[in-house]
Amino acid sequence: MISIESLHFAYPQDGFKLQIPAFSVPVGEKLAVIGPSGSGKTTLLNLIAGISQPLSGRIQIAGTPVHELADAARRDFRITQIGFVFQDFELLDYLSVLDNMLHPYRITRALKLTPEVRRRARDLAGQMGIGHQLQRHAGELSQGEKQRAAICRALLPQPKLILADEATGNLDPDNKLHILDLLFEAVDQHGATLLAVTHDHELLPRFDRVVDFDDFRSGSAA
């Protein structure tokens, strides 16, 4: 699913550099990436998603060289093929849960908002246990409900790859295990691949593979 070769990236402002000689993630794998703060985990997610561009090297997602795509094509690829789950959920408080889930469909022409999508959104919310909250504003939900809504938003376009950046970082211990289970279940059901950045070592045994970011950079994680 993900294939990285000789990746080189740097922030010119602060001298930060990221080099990954080789790395790949097979389809369907649930991979956890750990590492100290500031080591470049979020930068890696941004590179994979095509938000940031590498200085050199290759990044392929499902055979598509993301870094070679033009801006518009890269955005379309991201919104259709990659689902993002953020630590702070990043839901829009002024929209209902349903509208938050449908939001990606309303900001791009690459996704078509059809009655079928709406039906799928309701089903997905039901599976995630927030089916009865669809008309409530996102700001009115509990932390756990917000993360479920954020996962629903990421999964609704049926992406091939889910990128989760500290997705359970703001949840209490009970909620984080439950949400992770739901995320895994949904990923399995959709046949997606999961790459999750986390600090939480308690969750690591649940993943198929865990990679320390330092191994990543040395190439031994490949």
């Binding site: 998603a49 938000i51 801006d71 518009a72 955005r75 379309d76 991201r78 919104i79 259709t80 990659i82 993002f84 953020f86 990043e90 829009l92 408080d93 002024y94 929209l95 509208d99 939001h103 990606p104 469909y105 309303r106 900001i107 791009t108 022409r109 690459a110 078509k112 908002l113 504003h137």
Partner: protein, 392 residues
């Protein structure tokens, strides 16, 4: 599909108070100058049209503006009175036709205009219902008066005392509504027209009371002689003129000395007008003769000067408000930076983000425009009343 307006609408709906404040600010900026324009145009139209149709006005020396405003638009400021003799003098010159006016009293807040039936022809007033006033104590009410206080021919209307505590002053007179005028879109719509003698009844110059000669009430009669009977204030004064008591109404003194507030002079031609004006040039005469159009022209010039100042003030206030709105919008963009970053990360282009924010501005502007149009249409609908309330 990019549904920027849906998302923008949801955002604005979520912050109703903030959105309403923005809409109100923009609406006010737009409405103030436009509404002022409508009202000033209407005031100019009303003032000029009526003034141009009134050739000359004779009144006591003093403020020409007060004289014109009272005589043409029935404004509250009552000029010094002239006498009925002055109207008769004008008629006697054979240079002009004279219509007396006595505009001093009010009935339920509407001016009572004492005049003659010639006034109806002069102003081309049509009756929508009833008949013109024929008997003492009858009145014809303007269309707006009829609408606002719900009167029709046959109903009664009480004149208002000038001051509540002046017991020796003007008594209220219960007038019978003889007719209702068709709307004329002028000051006459808001007037109560009566015969000038009825106005004198209200003032007490013409009055009716029980027959003192027949009265045997010793508490009323102070002194009785063969030629004269003196009564005290206990004598019952009639406050309504009916068929039964109309004969009891009588004048005291010489009617030539009875008061008028003005006389409308309608010269037969330009030459007659010039001669008539010449006769009132004498500094010794207690009267003045004014062409209302000239007086109103001066007034309009002053109004336009004030209008220019107001326009400038509104422009500066508008600019300051717009700058404040730009600042508010800029600050809100900074507050929403995280939201913008999220949308971008999801796969939205910068252009679409600008489109989303632009849709919010378009909706706010559209709501303001609709509200502005609504207010302006209300202002335009009631412009005559507003002009009368604000300027005349």
């Amino acid at each position: 599909m990019i549904d920027s307006f849906y998302i923008a609408w949801k955002y604005l709906l979520f912050g109703k108070a903030r959105s309403a404040t923005l809409v109100a600010c923009i609406t006010l900026i737009a409405v103030l100058p436009l509404a002022l324009e409508i009202i000033l145009d209407e005031s100019e139209h009303q003032l000029v049209e009526r003034a141009e149709h009134t050739p000359l006005l004779v009144g006591a020396k003093g403020s020409a503006l007060d004289l014109v405003m009272n005589s043409l638009y029935f404004a509250d400021e009552v000029p010094q009175p002239v006498t009925l003799a002055s109207a008769e003098e004008i008629a006697a010159t054979d240079l002009a036709f004279a219509i007396p006016l006595y505009v001093r009293f009010q009935a339920r807040g509407f001016p009572i205009v004492g005049t003659t039936l010639d006034y109806f022809d002069f102003r081309q007033l049509r009756l929508a219902a009833g008949t013109p006033f024929g008997l003492l104590g009858e009145c014809v009410i303007g269309a707006a008066v009829a609408r606002q206080i719900g009167l029709k021919p046959g109903d009664s209307l009480l004149s208002s005392p000038e001051t509540v505590f002046d017991l020796a002053g003007v008594y209220p007179l219960k007038m019978r509504v003889a007719g209702v005028l068709a709307p004329s879109h002028s000051a006459d719509d808001l007037a109560v027209l009566v015969d000038v003698k009825t106005a004198w009844v209200i003032e007490g110059l013409v009055h009716g009371h029980e027959d003192v000669a027949r009265s045997r009430d010793s508490s009323v009669i102070i002194e009785r002689s063969e030629s004269n009977v003196t009564a005290n204030a206990k004598l019952m004064q009639y406050t309504e003129i009916t068929e039964a008591n109309i004969e009891a109404f009588h004048l005291h003194g010489d009617p030539a000395g009875y008061p008028l507030t003005a006389v409308i002079a309608l010269p037969h031609d330009d030459k007659a007008a010039a001669i008539l004006r010449g006769r009132y040039q004498d500094t010794e005469t207690p009267y003045q003769i004014v062409p209302p159009a000239d007086v109103i022209d001066t007034l309009i010039t002053n109004i336009f000067r004030i209008r220019n100042v107001l326009d400038a003030v509104i422009l500066f206030v508008g600019l300051a408000t717009l700058m404040a709105l730009v600042l508010v919008f800029g600050l809100s963009l900074r507050l929403r930076q995280r939201e913008i970053d999220t949308i971008f990360k999801l796969g939205c282009s910068r252009l679409t983000i600008a489109q989303l924010l632009g849709a919010e501005i378009v909706i706010i502007a559209a709501l303001s425009a609709v509200l502005c149009l609504l207010i302006l249409s209300v202002v335009a609908h009631y412009d005559q009343q507003l002009v009368r309330a604000l300027f005349i």
